[in-house]
């Protein structure tokens, strides 16, 4: 799968309160949560996003609370992937479980605001079309690749359940 969009740059330690403020957590609506994405730290962020855009951040992206509303909000505002130097652990698992593509690369500082990026998700290769450079993301362990391939944890469980039932029929 190929994703293409312009980069939006964020710094280190972007926490889940930054991504979606707690006052909105009583909603589970992707569009509403998307409309409030990054409101506390960049009030005009949502207006700048064209569907298909990509967030690029430094270390520890998604730190803080366990709110899965954070990846839901990111997807809801039209962003299709997050690239960071490292991810906080609950955000990491929420993104995998929700089917939001995330990629870890060291060279995040090489990417500038509005650089056009092209991501080959199956190969984990990110092309910076503006700068003519290429970055290779760390590949996920096989266990996680299976969840990503199933496009999220619940579909992975459903797939496993289906296989179990088939086995039972035999």
């Amino acid at each position: 799968m190929i994703l293409k969009g312009k980069a939006h740059i964020f710094g280190n330690n972007i926490n889940t309160d930054d991504i979606i403020a707690a006052k909105y957590l009583d909603s589970q609506d992707e569009k509403f949560l998307g409309s409030k994405c990054m409101e506390n730290i960049q009030p005009d962020f949502v207006k700048k996003v064209t569907p298909g855009d990509i967030i690029v951040a430094g270390n520890n992206f998604g730190s803080g609370s366990s709110r899965e509303h954070a990846p839901v909000s990111i997807k809801g505002c039209g962003v299709t992937a997050v690239i960071a130097s490292s991810f906080a652990r609950i955000f990491f698992r929420n993104a995998i479980n929700r089917g939001l593509p995330i990629l870890e690369i060291r060279e995040t500082a090489d990417i500038a605001q509005n650089d056009m990026l092209e991501i080959d998700l199956s190969k984990g290769i990110i092309k910076n079309l503006t700068k003519g450079r290429e970055y290779r993301a760390q590949s996920f362990p096989v266990f996680l690749q299976d969840i990503v391939k199933a496009q999220g944890l619940t579909s992975w469980v459903k797939l496993k359940e289906g296989k179990r039932n088939e086995g039972a029929k035999d």
């Binding site: 707690a22 009583d26 730290i41 730190s63 803080g64 609370s65 366990s66 490292s86 906080a88 362990p141």
Partner: protein, 424 residues
């Protein structure tokens, strides 16, 4: 090769001979709250799950926006209530019998030493203080845990923290953990377990230990853990009114002497002063004396970090017979009804009210900018809570400092950040 406590619990739960890099394993208990569980329920229903793994091993604890702050909050509780009825989930707690989840679950004896527990709340790591492997997860994780009774984990490495020396007066668990986070940074323990040990931790009461494991997530950790001991067992017996039966397996639960740690970090606390975290990161720590004079508009005493009886006793001892600074707002939130009742029995509630504090019901409330004490533009709070991110307690241009209950109560009297020794 020896194992750590958390490795032992993962091994037992996964029924494997040895641990690989990942496990998809049974959990002993799973829970969520009124903001994370509705999203789990939505996902559960959307994918067409139609049964739960065990009606007694799922908990819904309504503590964040409760008592319902508005229609949406009320509706979320209703969603959980009707789901719990449909699937006969036993442990649904509305405000008629509830409290801040990580303390309330201990009082209900729903989480025990040796348990593998997942909670859709990042401060689930608090429960590690009793020797449980307690991991914060997301709503989809909770949906799957409710259905399958299972969760996936990357098997974590462990950092061991050994505290040495003697604590000065006014220095406690909150100062130790803030100092530790200040030392290693907000991603200093990313994906790892923080095991707190050494002779000093043995001398700490459970309320201090719970404060330390509570904030492990603020250093990026997967969880925090303390070996259970006699202090743990007598505390649990007391707060559960003997509902928790201490087993030999619980008593044996220790990290092996030859357990493998990624790093052992020794911290000498002899010279440590009370610590305050400055806006906008918990790792932005300074000794309280370096901040003397910072003016504050609000003080919050409570939360899963510092809303237990010991915290309230410390604050009340400082406030007794005195008045909070004119114009300053002070909000006190006991973590559970049982703690409120104990505070009432000991006369602490009267101390707070007479000093000019507002005592609120047990709720997460202002800690996450939910309700009961939201900050306006430019306002400054000193809170015993756990996060001081941009906009955490309200307006994006408000400021939160984090401290112990002793520093918070002392500062409440002066209207500025104050070392407790200035009062006493």
């Amino acid at each position: 090769m020896g194992l750590t406590i958390v490795e032992k619990i993962l091994l037992r739960a996964s029924m494997q001979k040895s641990l690989g890099d990942f496990v998809y394993t049974k959990v002993d208990f799973c829970f969520g709250n009124d903001i994370t569980a509705p999203l789990a329920v939505k996902e559960f229903c959307k994918v067409g799950f139609d049964s739960v793994f065990d009606t007694k091993k799922i908990g819904f604890i309504c503590d964040h926006f409760l008592p319902a702050r508005d229609l949406k909050a009320a509706n979320n509780v209703k969603v959980l209530q009707s789901f719990a009825r449909q699937y006969r989930i036993k442990n649904f707690f509305d405000i008629n019998r509830c409290g801040v989840e990580h303390i309330f679950l201990l009082e209900q004896a729903l989480v025990r030493p040796g348990c593998l527990v997942v909670g859709a709340d990042s401060h689930t790591c608090t429960l590690g203080a009793i020797g449980a492997a307690a991991f914060g997860v997301g709503s989809t994780d909770l949906a799957v845990a409710m259905k399958e009774g299972k969760c996936w984990f990357k098997v974590p490495r462990t950092l061991k923290f050994i505290y040495k020396g003697k604590l000065k007066k006014w220095v406690g668990g909150k100062d130790l953990i803030l100092h530790t986070i200040g030392t290693i940074g907000v991603d200093g323990a990313l994906y790892k377990v923080m095991e707190f040990g050494g002779p000093l931790v043995k001398t700490l009461g459970m309320d201090d230990r719970l404060t330390m494991t509570n904030m492990a997530v603020e250093a990026g950790a997967k969880t925090g853990v303390v070996e259970p001991d006699a202090v743990t067992f007598s505390y649990l017996k007391k707060i559960t009114h003997n509902a928790l039966r201490v087993t030999d397996a619980m008593k044996r639960l220790k990290s092996d002497k030859d357990a493998v740690y990624e790093q052992v970090i020794e911290i000498d606390v002899t010279k440590l002063e009370p610590v305050v975290s400055c806006p906008h990161l918990p790792s932005n720590t300074k000794p309280v004396s370096a901040l003397a004079g910072v003016k504050i508009d609000q003080v919050v005493i409570g939360s899963c970090t510092n809303g237990r009886i010991t915290d309230l006793r410390i604050a009340a001892a400082i406030l007794k017979g005195k008045k909070v600074k004119k114009g300053l707002r002070v909000v006190v939130l006991p973590a559970t009804p049982q703690i409120s009742l104990q505070a009432e029995k000991e006369g602490l509630m009267r101390v707070f009210v007479e000093a000019g504090c507002m005592v609120c019901p047990p709720t997460c409330g202002p800690c996450l900018g939910g309700h009961m004490g939201i900050l306006d533009k430019g306002e400054v709070a000193l809170a015993t809570t756990n996060r001081n991110f941009v906009g955490r307690m309200g307006h994006p241009e408000s400021f939160v400092y984090l401290s112990s209950p002793a520093v918070a109560a002392s500062s409440a009297l002066k209207g500025r950040i104050t070392h407790p020794e200035e009062i006493n």
